[in-house]
């Protein structure tokens, strides 16, 4: 543990074993400990492998998502995404094999087969994703074999998702399980050929609050069509056409880099990282996409769009920047791509970043994050409430960006909060989304509520901050 000795005192962990997972940006940079299983008893904010697979695949709108396990896993992930659909709403129905004690003892394969038969007969879906959970994995149910037999029986894609929760304490492993299921789905039939088009795929875009539709509007204006998004507002048929795209854009790198790499290897489609969070990121992404086509007219249309939209949002952004300048923010989100985009956006609003962290960041991602942060910013991998509370107070944070579990913590401390979670209902991407984000940061950071909350009660004392 010699590395931890060089860390500044300000960043002491609540549990000694967690010390190497906390870093302070600045000169005495050490390598952060990350991408490992959560420490037992640390009250990690992370979910599980199954959850990772579920959030990636759930937005496939017309598929049946059948969870093979006791009822809880399905209940907790029922309608978990804020993904919007232009067609089928079947993805919002939560199917579970509802394993009981009997199934655990005698095996759940029969019940699974019966459930598949039932949903296929009732809904005639183009595909069924069958998710393994802890229990079905533990008792050794061969979901691959059950799915294969059911596929043959119904002449439908019945795709196993090997997402047993205990495989790892890291959701990223679930992203991989989902990716494998997607690749299985889009694998072309023997001897089939794929004709390339000028369209693109948009990977790691989940259409939260219609964000995919917004990107689609921009791209269409500059002359580019989206073939299919992975997986926001996607259908099984559209996903199967994925190999016909000439380029894969990757937004959520955590969940989709691996898919992009596989698509490149199998179908020769190149990929490019993009990011539509924040006006600068959106502008850069549009430029790079247009440049890929090497078409002057297209690049001009992109520049025109960027100039117009930037001009349109500037007054609003300026207004919020004037009020937010110098405020201190904390960021704790799922993945690093999102954290980096948010850092940039908050900086654009004149704010300081006091703390940032992720559930699933990788070493190189933390490295690039650390490079853009100013000296003294705390960086945490796989944080827990005790650490978050400690640093929120130590760093005098004014607003936090995170998910639901962090929200109540922030509010309890009298700190503003912005939801940047997978179940949020409002789109935060693109130029319009940037304004919406800035507004949300403003209304919560500068809410009159905090002043009231800290004001003395009649005849009493003020609450300490």
């Amino acid at each position: 543990m010699e590395e931890s000795c060089t860390l500044p005192r300000a960043a002491t962990a609540c549990i000694a074993e967690r010390q190497d997972s906390i870093q302070t940006a600045g000169k005495s940079r050490t390598r952060i400990h990350c991408a490992d299983d959560s420490l037992a008893g640390s009250v990690s904010q992370r979910a599980c492998v199954f959850c990772g697979a579920r959030v990636v695949l759930n937005p496939v709108t017309d598929a049946v998502h059948l969870i093979h396990g006791p009822v809880g896993c399905a209940t907790y992930t029922m309608d978990i995404r804020g993904s919007l659909s232009s067609g089928s709403e079947l993805f919002r129905t939560s199917f579970s094999t509802d394993m009981k004690e009997k199934d655990v003892i005698f095996g759940g394969e029969k019940k699974l087969a019966a459930c598949i038969d039932e949903v296929v007969e009732k809904y005639h879906p183009p595909a069924v994703f069958v998710y393994a959970t802890c229990v079905s994995g533990m008792i050794g149910d061969d979901i691959v074999a059950v799915c294969k037999a059911a596929s043959a029986r119904h002449n439908t894609d019945i795709i196993p998702v090997e997402s047993s929760g205990f495989i790892s304490g890291n959701k990223v492993v679930g992203y991989r399980a989902a990716a494998e299921a997607l690749l299985r789905l889009i694998r072309p039939k023997e001897g089939g050929t794929i004709e390339k088009t000028q369209k693109i795929n948009f990977l790691g875009e989940y259409n939260l609050g219609g964000e995919k539709w917004l990107a689609e509007r921009y791209l269409r204006e500059i002359g580019i069509e989206i073939n299919v998004a992975f997986t926001g507002d996607s259908t099984v048929a559209a996903l199967k056409r994925a190999p016909s795209a000439c380029l894969n854009l990757v937004q959520c790198t955590g969940s989709m880099h691996w898919v992009a790499q596989n698509l490149e290897r199998t179908f020769g489609t190149p990929y490019m990282d993009v990011n539509f969070f924040g006006p600068e990121n959106t502008a850069e992404s549009l430029r790079r996409i247009a440049a890929f086509y090497d078409d002057t007219a297209m690049m001009e249309r992109a520049e025109a769009l960027i100039a117009r939209e930037m001009a349109r949002i500037r007054p609003a952004i300026e207004k919020y920047r004037a009020r937010l300048r110098g405020k201190r923010a904390a960021i704790y989100v799922g993945g690093a791509y999102k954290a980096i985009a948010i850092i940039r956006q908050l900086r654009g609003l004149g704010m300081e970043i006091a703390l940032t962290g992720t559930q699933t960041g990788k070493a190189d991602e933390y490295e690039s994050m650390s490079r853009i942060l100013s000296e003294g910013t705390i960086i945490i991998d796989d944080a827990n409430p005790a650490e978050l509370e400690k640093f929120l107070l130590e760093k005098h944070v004014d607003v936090m960006i995170g998910g639901v579990k962090e929200r109540v913590l922030a509010y309890k401390l009298g700190i503003g909060f912005v939801d940047h979670n997978h179940d949020r209902k409002d789109g935060l991407a693109g130029f319009e989304g940037a304004v919406r984000f800035a507004r949300e940061v403003y209304v919560t950071t500068c809410s009159p509520v905090w002043e009231r909350a800290r004001s003395p009660a009649p005849g009493g004392e003020a609450h300490a901050r």
Binding site: L39, A40, G41, V43, S44, R46, A47, K100, C134, F166
Partner: protein, 463 residues
């Protein structure tokens, strides 16, 4: 094991569960432990379980809700989770410094066959643990719902602490998973009736804390262990658990082991049910019913009279945890809004038994479903032409897909603010519920009646 030979539930597909109406056993258990003073919970299983439970509870209570996990991975799943569980206990004790540590199993730990009692005993011995009560409760998800998990933990807690005690005046009051607002109302009534009591589990302060500008790792409040230990010396136990099976019943345990008489009452929701409660308290205390409660009763009846004609148009679907379902069904029925569907995700024969008189005397007997999913609830609701629903947020699909408005009550409420503040207990709570119910009916009626009548009568040929 319950549920073995059940005939297929009408309306429910034979095997698949489509939109779940209940959650898993351990989440009920963690809520019960949060009602014990200076308690922390640890869930023995993979990391996701505790995170999901935290999320669901955070959304419902709008409070931080820490749950530790033993974070089992593949290796421990094969070789046993003892080391991880012990490490988890180490870390939780270090950071949270609890006096009580509840350990709940998940389906994973149960399937692995983890011997919790042995692991905990060896941990206490190895680490010379003193001053911390570690209470393991088996809660395998495939054996019951969150309602059973709650009772199992409450019983486990009572069984752990209860000791032969000398007689005292404090009555035992044992509650199911109700809102902190309901707990406070029940406590207020107990106080008005001049009774001393031990209420278990009491999460009215731990899961609904006033703003204080700080976060307590373990919020103050909850039933103290010393009080639980003395529950065997109480003159009586009042338990709101008419649908709680004996094997999970904390009140029954106290009766069987320590001869504390058990009065199982329905939740005090609905005039009749509150009357039963108040009457019982009057008998137990020998005190008259105070003016304040009498006034509240009068206001409730006045409110019932004001709204009875509107309520007669109500065709409610009531779903959720058995104990709540029973209470709300009775409250609807006494207001002239006879439920058309009564449903629970639990397998619970006691609920059917309790509902039998209601069903028998109804002009139009309600459909009663157990072990039901929302596909079954929706099918039954449409079949019975239901026009209002009462239950937790899972029923939002009834509104979204079929236009049946939902009066939110129970647990969990995750798509509205203030699940912890929904008050339905006592005369005051019942009136508040009734107003919510009637106004939902009225809102729906006023929003649609013009169009409806127009479509019905003002056709092109007609006028």
């Amino acid at each position: 094991m319950p549920g073995e030979n059940a005939a297929p539930v009408p309306g429910r597909a034979k095997q698949v569960n489509e939109n779940q109406c209940n959650m898993c056993m351990p989440i009920g258990g963690v809520v019960a432990f949060k009602g014990i003073k200076n308690a922390m919970v640890l869930v023995h299983g993979s990391q996701g379980c505790s995170t999901y439970m935290r999320l669901a509870n955070v959304e419902h209570f709008n409070e931080p809700f820490d749950i530790a996990s033993s974070s089992l991975n593949e290796k421990q799943t094969i070789h046993g989770g003892e080391a991880n569980l012990k490490k988890a206990m180490d870390n939780v004790i270090r950071v949270y410094q609890p006096n009580v540590l509840g350990i709940l199993t998940t389906c994973l730990a149960e399937t692995m066959g983890e011997d919790l009692d042995r692991i905990v005993a060896s941990y206490i011995e190895e680490k010379k643990i003193a001053g911390i009560d570690i209470i393991p409760v088996p809660t395998p998800s495939y054996s019951g719902t969150h309602a059973e998990g709650f009772w199992a933990a409450a019983r486990g807690i009572v069984a752990y602490y209860a000791r032969p005690a000398s007689s005292h005046r404090r009555i035992n009051v044992i509650i199911p998973n109700i809102s902190p607002a309901d707990i406070r109302e029940i406590k207020r009534i107990l106080g008005l009736m001049g009774l001393e009591y031990t209420l278990l589990p009491d999460f009215s302060m731990t899961l609904d804390r006033p703003f204080g500008g700080k976060y307590q790792k373990i919020p103050t409040g909850g039933t103290p262990a010393e009080r639980i230990a003395e529950m065997p010396g109480a003159p009586v136990t009042i338990q709101f658990g008419t649908t709680c099976p004996d094997s999970l019943s904390p009140g029954r345990y106290l009766e069987q082991e320590y001869n504390v008489p058990l009065v199982n009452l329905p939740l005090p929701i609905g005039l009749g049910n509150v009357d039963l409660f108040v009457e019982t308290l009057a008998n137990v205390s020998g005190n008259p019913v105070p003016e304040e409660l009498a006034l509240e009763r009068g206001w409730l009846i006045d409110g019932m009279a004001d709204s009875h004609k509107f309520n007669a148009d109500g065709r409610p679907v009531v779903y959720g945890e058995p104990e709540l379902v029973y209470a709300f069904s009775m409250a609807c029925a006494e207001n002239g809004a006879m439920p058309v569907v009564i449903s629970t995700g639990s397998k619970n024969s006691l609920l059917k038994e309790r509902l039998a008189p209601l069903v028998l005397n109804a002009d139009e007997p309600p459909v009663v479903l157990e072990e039901a999913d929302f596909a079954a609830v929706a099918a039954a609701a449409l079949g019975a032409e239901a026009n209002i629903a009462i239950g937790h947020s899972g029923g939002k699909l009834l509104t979204e897909r079929y236009g049946i408005p939902l009066v939110r009550a129970g647990y969990p409420i995750h798509d509205r603010i203030g699940g912890q503040r929904i008050l339905s207990a006592g005369y005051r709570g019942t009136l508040a519920f009734l107003d919510r119910f009637t106004n939902t009916l009225l809102e729906h009626k006023y929003a649609t009646y013009r169009q409806k009548i127009k479509e019905e009568l003002c056709t092109a040929e007609g006028v």
